[in-house]
């Protein structure tokens, strides 16, 4: 096997006659911040769905840390340290911001029905530690003042922040961010970018799907370009900027 943290081979997914994803080989290295770009319908989100287990591929295999995860349930993949966010932000609307974080940070064993009936001291202590951890993250992301608000009351940008906070509370090894800047105001986008950069510097491997090319160019170490499900370019931002295929994929459609 290769040294890649995540690796896919001959990965294919079709919807009826439409090929959503068809990738021969693609690997991602530990610690790298990689952006996946491409025109609408290029298969970026489907690719995320496949590697995070939310959709099953038609053929091909997916390896995470040299383990075949092709038919794994999403929650198993998440437990292996790969956590994703969603393009359309998914927060727990009718729970408070704090509860959102506590749920996400809590281990499976802490959630058990038995322990919750017994209400052991150890569970209480665990919850207190968890609360501190959640508070620290909320402080870092500037949402501490919203801790007791229902998540549905947050603005779009704040929801993105909450989703990010929820994803990092368990210190994942790999983060899959699906359009973390979509619908976010420029100032907040700047903050989120800084945060992503910081997480990357802390050693988290990050894969990001994003349409904001300027932001992508600024923070990515590597850029992977998809068009119509296939890989058309792969390299550092400078290489991608001048890549002929990429320019055609983005601009060619206008000429048709």
């Amino acid at each position: 096997m290769s040294n890649s943290l995540i690796e896919v081979n001959n990965l294919k997914k079709t919807f009826g006659g439409l090929t959503a994803v068809d990738i021969k080989q693609l690997g991602f290295n530990k610690g790298q911040l990689t952006s996946i770009i491409g025109p609408n319908g290029a298969g970026k989100t489907t690719f995320f769905d496949l590697i995070s287990g939310f959709q099953n591929s038609d053929s091909g295999d997916i390896h995470l840390k040299n383990k075949d995860i092709s038919n794994f349930q999403p929650y198993k993949i998440a437990r292996m340290g790969m956590v994703r966010t969603f393009q359309l932000t998914k927060v727990f609307d009718r729970m408070t911001v704090l509860e959102n974080l506590l749920f996400s940070g809590s281990e499976i064993s802490n959630d058990s029905l038995f322990k919750s009936v017994i209400k052991s001291k150890s569970q209480k202590k665990y919850e207190e530690n968890l609360k501190d951890k959640a508070k620290n993250i909320m402080e870092e992301l500037n949402i501490l003042h919203m801790a007791d608000s229902y998540a549905r009351e947050l603005s779009g940008g704040q929801k993105k922040l909450l989703e990010l906070a929820r994803s990092i509370i368990n210190e994942p090894e790999i983060l899959l961010l699906d359009e973390p800047l979509a619908g976010v105001n420029p100032k907040l986008a700047e903050d989120i970018l800084l945060l992503i950069k910081k997480l990357s510097n802390e050693g988290i491997t990050i894969l990001m799907v994003e349409h904001n090319i300027e932001a992508v160019m600024k923070i990515s170490e590597r850029i992977v370009v998809l068009a119509e499900g296939s890989l058309i370019a792969d390299g550092n931002p400078n290489e991608i900027r001048t890549d002929r295929n990429v320019i055609e994929a983005y601009l060619g459609k206008d000429n048709d």
Binding site: S52, Y75, V83, F92, M95, F103
Partner: protein, 351 residues
């Protein structure tokens, strides 16, 4: 502890409903009230179980009657009883409490069995499957005459519970003109509610309760956080089904004989109405909802009689459903979150 206005309003409305019973029934009001409170306790308990499914976990369960039915049938069959066309007597059996526990566990197990294939469905699809499963259960019970007594039902089982009736109930009932056996069932029902509420209160703010609410809000996000949403839903299904099973047993003891027509879908819809009236997602809401609901059910024909003096029985029944319908409409318009539900947590929109 601060008592909220909502709570006071619920208590007031419940008190007013009970007052209505006395106002509308110059004679025998206390007996009517006992009957009504017994049903209210049993249905309220069932609605509390349904709230674990729907209010906490967002599971659209329209087969609640079958969980009540499984609990009732398993418990009764395990105890001494008579069943079927000839009233065939089974004179040996387990003591009440053992049979009850097995009955409750069976209801929970039925929840698990129904849940395993069905729980992956969302929203209305789960509703369709549960209502179908409940009907399959009911028809199966009807046709398994050798075990369940079929359409002839089960009789002669009430002594299993009544033998434990304390003496004070007898004295107390005599002075008030109650049926002592119903007073005892009523007491057992309300004690069951008390313990169930205490148990659920304990769970509500626990990490487990929190996880159920997260499932209710967004299953995909739950999975993305590394949690097994299916298992959480199954646990919720089993807990709520177990509570329903207990209420089913009590319902059987209140009726004194049991047949399959008790568990028609209408039973499920009554329980739903009670839960919505009391407040989806609340723990104590269904208690108030249930009392008020039963006052409405049992007293609307009297109210209708006052409004339409010359109406006959059939016409009165029509007016009664009209009044119930109007009341539910008014409720949905002016207080969709029910008596105790929080407006910010309004839970009736299903994904």
């Amino acid at each position: 502890m601060k008592i909220s206005n909502k709570f006071l309003f619920a208590v007031f409305l419940t008190g007013f409903s009970i007052y209505l019973v006395f106002a509308l029934n110059p004679e025998g009001a206390s007996r009517i009230l006992l009957n009504l409170l017994t049903f209210a306790g049993i249905y309220g308990l069932s609605a509390i179980g349904l709230n674990v499914h729907f209010g906490w976990t967002g599971l659209l369960n329209f087969g609640h009657a079958s969980f009540m039915g499984v609990g009732a049938y398993v418990t009764l069959i395990l105890m001494p009883h008579a069943a079927g066309r000839e009233g065939e007597i089974t004179s040996t059996g387990l003591p009440f409490i053992v049979a009850l526990i097995i009955g409750i566990l069976s209801a929970a197990l039925f929840g698990l069995l129904l849940g395993l294939p069905a729980i992956r469905l969302r929203g209305d699809y789960l509703a369709i499957v549960t209502i179908a499963a409940a009907e399959i259960f009911r028809l199966l019970v009807r046709d398994l005459e050798s075990i369940t007594g079929g359409v002839y039902g089960i009789i002669n089982y009430t002594e299993n519970l009544q033998q434990y009736r304390p003496n004070f109930i007898n004295n107390f009932s005599e002075s008030l003109g109650f049926s002592p056996s119903q007073a005892w069932v009523c007491l057992v029902a309300w004690i069951s509610i008390l313990f169930t509420v205490l148990f659920l209160k304990r769970l509500n703010n626990s990490p487990w309760g929190r996880a159920l609410r997260a499932v209710r809000e967004d299953e995909d996000a739950v999975r993305a956080m590394g949690k097994n949403a299916v298992w959480l839903k199954l646990q919720s299904f089993m807990l709520g089904a177990g509570i329903a099973g207990l209420s089913g047993v009590l319902l059987a003891f209140n009726y004194g004989s049991l047949e399959t027509t008790v568990f028609v879908p209408l039973l499920t819809f009554y329980v739903w109405a009670i839960m919505i009236l009391g407040g989806v997602g609340t723990i104590t809401g269904p208690i108030f909802g249930s009392i008020i609901f039963w006052v409405i059910i049992s007293e609307t024909d009297r109210l209708a009689f006052i409004l339409f003096e010359n109406a006959n029985g059939q016409q009165l029944a029509g007016v009664r459903f009209l009044l119930v319908g109007l009341l539910i409409m008014a409720l949905m318009i002016f207080r969709p979150s029910g008596l105790l539900g929080k407006k910010e947590e309004l839970l009736l929109d299903v994904k």
